[in-house]
């Protein structure tokens, strides 16, 4: 499960993409072969999108292996999860199923229902035309109205009555029309019409989605297109942290007030009614060089740490952050130096906190194993009554161990992908300290599955 939260099959700091996907693939096969019911139930948990898609795909490809009475639950779980995923992911999944020649009745039914539930299929057809066409063809569907001709013979009709399809047709000839299309589609037309990038961005700005805005903001500013403005206050916390870390240090200093305010707002939104209720909290946050992540997941571990920093600040009554590098300005943090976890944990414990949260990839190297020793002795000799709860959150999947790297057996470790899940994970980790067995896990999962499906109704 930790794997399902953290791993995305991409390259990490310590292991390559091939290793990652090989390791993950094995884990999926193993779980599906031996505990198919648990495997399906994982869909009800906070697994990341990459793994949700993998699970759905594996289940659909092996429908025949499922017992008859399980199939119904599985189908509902998959349908429910797909409804929560971003559409490009789902289209990706459907196309992968098509490539793998998976075309059983259940797959077709799921595709049909999912497409039927889309709020505006004509919009999808314009934005993801190839994908929609593939799905329709694969599931033997007959789209109503003008969609059929649009997907298969787009240039035959002289005009469309559906507005967005008509706009798409006109955009081939008329520059003004393309500004009414979704950004990704309009970008292609802009290239075709040789529109200057700055002018294009300036005019397409109102059509940008929230995340497109955030992504394009810096490059647009470089081009002088000031209309592209992301409203930082509405961005999700971890995404915002990534954005901040991507800015040069000078910019961060210049925009300190704005960025800090945005991060605080996002953190407070997540903390909700828990804000200020966590007592004294000390966080040991990893900003060592390995927090750089990889070319694929640039600064992701550090972004998670930074997001956790602001979230914990919002949650705690009294909060002390300890960055590994010894810096105290969270906003200017960048991956640098070694990982002296042991020493920093010692510093943290000296504050006598009610809760110690460690966010690190678990590669303790200065010196290796000191963190484990400190935590072990703290638990066994200095604090046997557990007055201080210690939790380790790890944003990186370790391909060799099929799990996230642990710091010490005495401290619960949970994989974390978005800081948004921190509250739930910390609660869960406390629960995990009691060493539950398989029956309890099954019971817990059954409960989660029921809740998950009930939200559906």
């Amino acid at each position: 499960m930790n794997a399902a939260i953290t791993s995305t099959g991409q390259r990490e700091f310590h292991s390559g993409a091939d290793e990652q996907s090989l390791s993950l693939d094995f884990l999926h096969r193993y779980l599906m072969g031996n505990y198919r019911d648990l495997y399906a139930a994982t869909l009800a948990l906070d697994v990341n999108d990459h793994n949700a898609v993998l699970i759905a795909r594996n289940l659909l490809a092996t429908t025949a292996e499922a017992e008859a009475d399980r199939r119904h639950v599985e189908g509902r779980l998959i349908a429910r999860r797909l409804a929560l995923l971003p559409p490009p992911r789902v289209y990706g999944l459907f196309r992968a199923l098509r490539r793998a020649r998976v075309n059983n009745r259940r797959t077709r039914a799921i595709m049909r229902d999912w497409l039927a539930a889309r709020p505006d299929l004509a919009f999808d057809a314009v934005k993801y035309r190839g994908a929609v066409r593939d799905v329709v063809r694969h599931a033997h569907l007959r789209p109503g109205g003008e969609l059929g001709p649009f997907l298969f013979t787009p240039h035959r009709p002289a005009a469309y009555t559906t507005p967005i399809l008509e706009t798409w047709r006109r955009a081939h000839y008329e520059q003004a029309a393309l500004y009414k299309l979704p950004y990704t589609v309009a970008e292609g037309f802009a290239a075709k019409h040789r529109i200057a990038r700055a002018a294009f961005l300036e005019r397409i700005a109102p059509r940008l989605t929230r995340l497109e805005r955030l992504r394009l903001q810096e490059s647009a500013r470089g081009l002088g297109a000031d209309a592209v403005r992301a409203d930082l206050a509405t961005m999700p916390l971890t995404r915002l942290a990534s954005y901040v870390l991507a800015l040069p240090l000078d910019d961060r200093v210049r925009r300190r007030a704005e960025l800090t305010a945005a991060l605080r707002t996002a953190a407070l939104r997540i903390a909700g009614d828990q804000a200020g209720r966590w007592g004294t909290v000390v966080a040991v946050l990893d900003d060592s060089f390995s927090a750089y992540g990889s070319g694929h997941k640039r600064r992701r571990p550090l972004a998670v740490a930074l997001a956790c920093h602001f979230l914990l600040e919002a949650l705690a009554r009294e909060y002390t952050p300890l960055w590994l590098s010894g810096r105290s300005d969270a906003l200017l943090t960048h991956p640098y130096g070694a990982t002296p976890l042991g020493e920093r944990i010692l510093d943290g414990l000296e504050h006598r906190p009610g809760r110690l949260v460690i966010v690190s990839d678990g590669w303790d190297n200065s010196p290796p194993g000191l963190a484990e020793e400190v935590l072990r002795i703290w638990r066994t000799r200095l604090d046997p009554h557990r007055t201080c709860a210690v939790v380790h959150l790890n944003p990186v999947y370790d391909a060799a161990d099929f799990d996230v790297r642990r710091l010490a057996p005495t401290v619960p470790t949970a994989g974390i992908r978005d800081a948004e899940n921190l509250v739930a994970l910390v609660e869960l980790a406390q629960f995990a300290e009691g060493r539950t067995g398989l029956p309890e896990l099954r019971a817990h999962l059954t409960r989660r599955v029921e809740e998950f499906l009930r939200e559906d109704a």
Partner: protein
């Protein structure tokens, strides 16, 4: 003859990755008045800040050199050089270069990167380069006329050493780090020290272009992952957080002491012969040769020290067993004036045996053919 010492540097915990272990060396106070000349390393944007009051002199480690001469032929600098502040714009003295496919690697339009350690290796290769000083009758005409020329030794680049590249990639550079010791399967492969942390940061990745001996190549290829030296604290000694901190600090100190005495012992304890190459502004550039004792570590290298004996720059290369044997033989021959009978007596072997050993070491062409044949026959006869 003195010991080599890592004066001014402190050992930090090692980081292991596969069969490679890297031990960082940290300086409390960086050396500011001697800096690596980044201009040569990267001609486009190498600016070294200079405090107006400090004397600036820069040195050029051979590995990072190369600029084109006026007439357009490529040239290589002669090893490491020291230059004064006034000479900033003067190109380093250099020699024209004939291309051998593998020796030089083009790094840009008008830059050329060479394998480093040229100076030290040159020192080793030039060992008794001139051949016999007294024309004893056993030596061939060629040995008398041309000496050992040309002498060639083989080494592997870091890129060929299994796992080194990955180990350098995931290594986390410490704040203030000015050096590193590279171990393959826990055999000391090389030591590298620079004056300033910024220099180290810039040059960290070049370790993969360095030369490594045959021994290191094979060790890295065949060894499994080396274990971490994990910290261990005895429960009974701890009663409070302060105790725990004391114990943690002691772990650090114990590791540093263990490393310097045991792991790096082979490098630091040997008696070296130093040859001063250049002296300038209180800094002394020298190269050193080991005593060529067989069946133990032998490192050759080059270093810069200041007046107080502080180590500013160091780069070493570990010789393979065969190279040690050759060095040993040459040194002994030279010590006995290239007289075969005397050398044989000093080495406690018979003269024919020594002759065959010279041949086995790859210097057979130095002996006259008839003398060699006679030795061979004598040894065969003796065995029978």
């Amino acid at each position: 003859m003195t010991d080599l010492a890592l004066t001014g540097l402190h050992t930090r915990p090692a980081q292991a990755w596969g069969g490679v272990r890297l031990v960082p060396l940290v300086r409390r106070e960086p050396i500011e008045d001697l800096r690596l000349d980044a201009r040569l390393h990267d001609a486009e944007f190498g600016v070294v800040e200079v405090d107006p009051r400090t004397v600036y002199s820069s040195y050029i480690p051979h590995g990072f050199v190369a600029s084109w001469t006026r007439d357009g032929t490529p040239a290589a600098a002669y090893g490491t050089q020291l230059r004064g502040p006034a000479e900033r714009d003067r190109a380093p003295s250099r020699m024209p270069l004939r291309f051998h496919r593998r020796m030089a690697r083009r790094a840009g339009r008008n830059r050329l990167r060479f394998l480093p350690l040229h100076l030290a290796l040159e020192g080793y290769l030039a060992l008794h380069f001139g051949g016999p000083e007294i024309a004893w009758e056993e030596w061939s005409r060629r040995a008398i006329n041309r000496g050992l020329s040309p002498r060639v030794e083989e080494a592997y680049t870091g890129a060929a050493v299994e796992g080194l590249h990955d180990a350098l990639r995931v290594f986390e550079i410490h704040p203030g780090q000015c050096g590193v010791l590279v171990y393959a399967a826990d055999a000391l492969a090389a030591a590298f020290v620079v004056p300033h942390p910024d220099d180290y940061r810039a040059l960290h990745a070049t370790l993969v272009h360095d030369l490594y001996g045959e021994l290191i190549y094979h060790y890295a290829m065949l060894s499994g992952p080396v274990p971490d030296f994990r910290a261990r604290i005895v429960d009974a000694t701890v009663r409070s957080l302060a105790d725990l901190r004391v114990q943690a600090r002691r772990q650090q100190e114990e590791w540093a002491a263990f490393h310097d005495q045991v792991m790096a012992g082979g490098l630091l304890d040997a008696d070296y012969t130093y040859q001063r190459v250049h002296e300038m502004g209180g800094y002394r550039l020298s190269r050193f040769l080991p005593p060529f004792e067989r069946r133990r570590e032998n490192h050759i290298g080059e270093l810069i020290t200041d007046g107080a004996g502080r180590l500013a720059y160091l780069k070493t290369f570990r010789l393979s067993e065969n190279q040690v044997r050759r060095g040993h033989l040459l040194t002994r021959l030279a010590a006995c004036g290239w007289n075969l009978a005397d050398t044989a007596a000093a080495l406690d072997v018979t003269e024919p045996e020594l002759g065959l050993r010279v041949e086995a070491a790859g210097f057979g062409h130095l002996l006259r053919q008839d003398v060699l044949d006679r030795y061979r026959a004598r040894v065969r006869h003796g065995r029978r």
